[in-house]
Symmetry: C2
Subunit: 183 residues, 2 copies
């Protein structure tokens, strides 16, 4: 994660990764078979340990999911390395034949579904019949979080990741629950 995050998958050599665990690059290949496979295992492992972190604690739904996303943005501002890994790898994954492409496609589908469901729950709770904008809003919330991360990594002095994320999420949620035309 450290190497792929700092230098990207393509430019992140196995030798650097091997050094970090006190091994030669051939040793790493002994365990993972190929560099592609290592990347997928790293991503899978992150997912697993994220789930473990939430064990016992309920995975929030409804309005709590949005609060959770805001807290995540706040947390992310303290772990640039991990954020950078996701930013770099997700963008790289859109290129031809990238080994993590399918993983990111699936990941975004899952996240959009979860955020979409949270929207539907909130709408139901407040007696709003489900607006057509739910799917767009779900994608937008994930998008704004990702996009802010890029700007923040490039220019941390100028961009406040947590504040901007919170602002944008609030804006989008408000627009779903009670749409207005400003333009």
């Amino acid at each position: 994660m450290t190497t792929f995050g700092a230098r990207g998958y393509n430019k992140g050599p196995l030798t650097e990764i091997a050094d970090q665990v006190g091994m030669t690059h051939a040793g790493v290949l002994h365990h993972f078979g190929s560099k592609d496979q290592l990347l997928l295992e790293v991503l899978r492992y992150r997912d697993e340990s994220d789930v473990k972190d939430l064990e016992g604690q309920h995975i929030p739904g409804g309005v709590d999911l949005f609060r959770h996303l805001v807290r995540t943005a706040l947390l992310n501002a303290r772990r640039a390395g991990l954020v950078q890994a996701y930013v770099v790898l997700s963008a790289e994954s859109v290129t031809e034949g990238h080994p993590a492409r399918d993983w990111f496609v699936e990941r975004y589908r899952t996240l959009r579904r979860e955020v979409g469901e949270a929207f539907r729950a909130v709408c139901a709770e407040r007696g709003i019949d489900e607006p057509a904008t739910v799917d767009r809003a779900a994608a937008s919330i994930l998008a704004v979080m990702d996009g802010l991360q890029v700007q923040w990594l490039l220019d941390p002095e100028q961009v406040d990741l947590a504040e901007s994320s919170a602002f944008a999420i609030e804006a989008i949620v408000a627009q779903v629950l009670d749409p207005r035309e400003a333009l």
Copy 2:
């Protein structure tokens, strides 16, 4: 742009670029000196020709800038290659020692400033005293456009770039002009 977009800067070889213009890779280096320099020239050239496109036409300000951004998202849905180049290169640029890093830092600063000014113009026009959220909103609008592009490139069937962008921009503008708390 085609090669760097499709394969990224790191994995985009000079030979492929040279082939596209019917030349050897040494011919390309004759003109640009190094691969780094070529990338910077490509980016500079894109900027220049964007300015040329707008020549005569006024660069929109105030509320028209937001409409222009929505139209841009619509236009972008028809040019995946260019979009992919920006997505891949901007994310790659956050890595250590990337040749385009400074360029992207500067680019986002400029864009945030322009969007921020548009916000201030609209606020002045409508007699709203400038809210503290302008800067966050400016970053958020750029962020949501970028982030949606990633999701759209990965899964064009599932994500409607134009609609989602329009929705999110509207949401953010509305929240600046007339803030509400939804959470």
